[in-house]
Symmetry: C2
Subunit: 310 residues, 2 copies
């Protein structure tokens, strides 16, 4: 085994999504938190993905993930099972999904058991999934140096204790503004983030959709990132996962956990999220290059830069 | 008359405000768009204010404005009249005021007639007021080099034609996100701002409350400013006016209309807005110094800075 292991281990949902937005509709398209975040991370680092699918999961999707350098041995295929299926729609400012259907299917009995060579992973992203499963993965990666997690309203209300246990054990949490308020009961985002910081994570990254993202460190805001201004959002599904994946992939590729590099990682996360929403499913990532990504990174910088006092 | 005239001329409401927020209540306190913006601008430049009050307007408020270097000869006092009175409350995330009462009083018959030496003003801010009055002021400042305006939902729906005429004649519009959507019928803010740019203004500054501000120039976003993270907002009244006043005062004080300086002006605007909401009425501005302002400007820079690609 090489002594340098800059792979990112990602666990989360692998899904078939039916999505309708004002700009179109896709049916049973490739989706899921682990898929969006793995593909986003794969622009920077090797990725190991952990998840579960049913027999209906098209082989071409696995082939696509592998073509991105993603190790898919951690995706279990359940004989006779059906893949997790989410159906939702977006309207208006598209900041909020309207969930029409959630068929957990093979996820109901999923027990993540990591391939042995996954267990030395230093960079771990616990994408949105049952926090009890996140804990089971955490128990299998004793050498992890940077662990991040995401979650959602469903687990905040339904599995709060397990989620708080996860938060005790991660370095970074990615959470959206509504979830941060729900988790803490605090309307003020700065207060909410401060409370979440006290639950455990050193870095609390609050995603605010079209309003960008804010990172809190040690009780205070340490970085505010604008969102990239798009004239048209085609499909917001997976934006948060793409953000987290881009962030983790970049950090792993550099091996640099300094605050300055973590800020750069937030911008890369924003960059991946902004590209992802420009098309349905994984379509945009399929045609994206690292040059596109670096160009938008620089564009982000141009947009927020201003001179210090003379 | 000096050849250098870096005063900012401001017209807008001068009011007595009754405001209730989760943190307290003030009754008939000093307020109004022209007051907030004039005091904010006064940290940088001389200010000339145009407005109208009734006999009930306390003399101490005029004395306070004069103590800030604000020329108040443009404030007409109507014998026997009553000052404009607004009553509102805020709850939850405080992004939206709940208007309880609007007594126009002396504003119903106001006809702005500028003192003769106001008419050479180069920097003009048409704060929120009936757009027909904004036009009457514009007609009296033929030497204006930089004109900015603000407005509100009431005029967008009630005096759209006059407002569009104002927009044709200004260089900068300050507008909040909800108003930008209302004015254009566009949900997407980037599209909305592009449309407003086509109505006339070179710079469209969209204020997004706790989410900061975005400036659009020539069909594209040219600057995104974070909002300053406050653990507690005491009273949001006047935040937008303070933003515009800080912006205009800074630009006038430098006489520099370069894009780089306009960006700095947006940050000064955000700085003044963030201070203003930390107390009721003008209380925060009464104890604020230029050192405080410059310190927070630097803090804004620290928060959004990240390295360019190496």
């Amino acid at each position: 085994m090489s002594s340098i292991d800059n792979s990112v281990l990602i666990i989360g949902s692998v899904a078939l999504d039916t999505v309708e937005t004002p700009l179109g509709r896709v049916e049973r398209a490739l989706g899921g938190a682990a898929v969006y975040s793995s593909v986003a991370a794969s622009f920077f680092s090797p990725v190991r993905v952990v998840g579960v699918v049913g027999e209906d999961f098209p082989e071409e999707h696995i082939a696509f993930l592998m073509s991105r350098g993603i190790d898919t041995r951690g995706i279990q295929k359940v004989p006779g099972g059906k893949t997790f299926h989410w159906a939702g729609s977006y309207a208006g400012d598209m900041n909020q999904a309207n969930t029409l259907l959630t068929e957990l299917n093979v996820f109901q009995s999923f027990n993540p058991d990591l391939p042995v060579d996954y267990k030395s992973s230093k960079y771990v992203f616990l994408a949105n999934i049952d926090p009890e499963l996140q804990l089971k993965v955490l128990d299998q990666v004793p050498q992890a140096e940077l662990v991040a997690c995401d979650t959602m309203n469903f687990w905040i209300s339904g599995k709060r204790d397990a989620l708080l246990e996860v938060l005790k054990r991660v370095n970074i949490v990615f959470i959206n503004d509504a979830e941060a308020r729900q988790l803490t009961g605090e309307v003020n985002l700065t207060k909410a983030a401060t409370l979440i910081h006290e639950y455990g994570p050193k870095y609390v990254v609050v995603k605010k959709g079209e309003h960008g993202a804010v990172m809190y460190c040690d009780d205070t805001i340490c970085f505010a990132a604008a969102s990239y201004p798009l004239e048209e959002v085609t499909d917001p599904t997976g934006a948060g996962d793409s953000f987290a994946g881009g962030f983790m992939g970049y950090v792993a590729s550099t091996g640099d956990l300094s605050p300055d590099n973590i800020r750069r990682a937030v911008v890369y996360g924003s960059t991946l999220a902004s590209y992802n929403v420009q098309d349905f499913s994984l379509a945009m990532f399929k045609r994206l290059t690292i040059d596109d990504i670096n160009q938008r990174y620089n564009e982000f910088r141009r947009i927020v830069h201003f001179d210090p006092l003379g």
